[in-house]
């Protein structure tokens, strides 16, 4: 049988002045602190790194580099009258590969390109999209913290000229899901 003093406030001898006491309570506090920190560390390192925002940013930049060069629309995509980019040649022309890990059966990317003439910024003269359209609906909720598990969207717009000197506004929207590997 353990002496009841073992659990008392004065298991360790008291300083006569009473200014410092080591007690079982101190160890209880230490254990609580250690448990709390361990739990926080476990939760922190158990969360995967979410790199989708950077990834979407790079994807948008790559598409922008693909469409224009030195501030001009590339000739291979715009012949002066028609835009020649479409779903069949997009990946090949822009040197992209949207294949993903086997854990996902469906496409994890979505890309939308809209080209406007500077005189009419409401109606695009050309637009096309590629990828899994279902991710794009999540962009609306993206701002709210509780919906961070949804896909990541990144939109960029820039101006460029065609070879005739006409100004165009290009909007590129990139959406990446890859939820299982970036959020829990």
């Amino acid at each position: 049988m353990i002496d009841k003093n073992f659990f008392s406030y004065s298991f360790f001898p008291k300083n006569k002045r009473g200014d410092k006491i080591i007690s079982v309570y101190w160890f209880a506090i230490l254990i609580l602190v250690a448990g709390g920190i361990s739990a926080m560390v476990f939760v922190f390192y158990n969360q995967p790194y979410d790199v989708r925002e950077i990834e979407a940013n790079i994807l948008t930049n790559n598409i922008a580099d693909c469409l224009s060069q030195g501030g001009y629309l590339r000739d291979e995509f715009f012949d002066g009258e028609n835009f020649l980019l479409n779903e069949t040649n997009f990946l090949e022309k822009c040197e992209l590969n949207f294949e993903v890990e086997e854990i996902w059966e469906e496409e994890q990317y979505y890309v939308k390109v809209e080209i406007y003439q500077i005189s009419d910024l409401n109606n695009p003269v050309f637009n096309f999209d590629y990828g899994n359209e279902k991710w794009v609906v999540n962009c609306v909720f993206q701002e709210e913290k509780e919906f961070e598990k949804l896909s990541e969207c990144y939109e960029r717009r820039f101006y460029c000229l065609d070879k005739s000197g006409n100004q165009h506004l290009i909007k590129i929207l990139s959406v990446i899901n890859k939820g299982d590997k970036n959020v829990k």
Partner: protein
């Protein structure tokens, strides 16, 4: 010693401040303080070790390197050579008896990083380039070429 006598002796010992002071009552404050400091130091050391161990575990490093390399390849342009310092990965691979030259593999458009016998983490990149990787000292060199 009978159980009763043992309990009695324990009781006396616990009640007596002499177990810490060895009979020198004036030395009690010092001994108590030393014990207090030593226990606190042990606690802090264990906690810091735990934090460092968690942060440098194979699972965390595999994921961070795989994603880092995939993003590097995504933002690269042919022809490029990228050097990535992987000192931490090398130390961990050596500890887990894994050849450092086989830590990073690039298959199609997947980066696979393996730092433990059973582990391994893969992440895909979208840049359609031909990427190859090889170890060089504590670094990994990535060669990016056009397909």
């Amino acid at each position: 010693m009978t159980p009763m006598a043992y309990t009695q002796r324990t009781r006396e010992l616990l009640r007596s401040p002499e177990i810490f002071t060895r009979g020198k009552k004036r030395g009690g404050i010092l001994v108590e303080n030393i014990i207090f400091i030593v226990l606190n130091l042990i606690f802090l050391s264990v906690l810091i070790l735990f934090l460092f161990k968690q942060g440098s575990g194979a699972i965390v490093l595999e994921q961070s390197y795989a994603k880092q390399i995939a993003l590097l390849i995504d933002s690269s342009k042919p022809v490029m050579e990228i050097n990535l310092n992987m000192e931490k990965a090398k130390k961990l691979a050596e500890k887990n008896k894994i050849d450092f030259g086989e830590v990073v593999r690039i298959e199609k458009n997947l980066v696979i990083v393996k730092l433990s016998e059973k582990g391994g983490y893969s992440y895909s990149f979208f840049n359609d380039v031909e990427a190859t990787a090889y170890a060089s000292g504590e670094d990994y060199v990535f060669i990016i070429n056009k397909k």
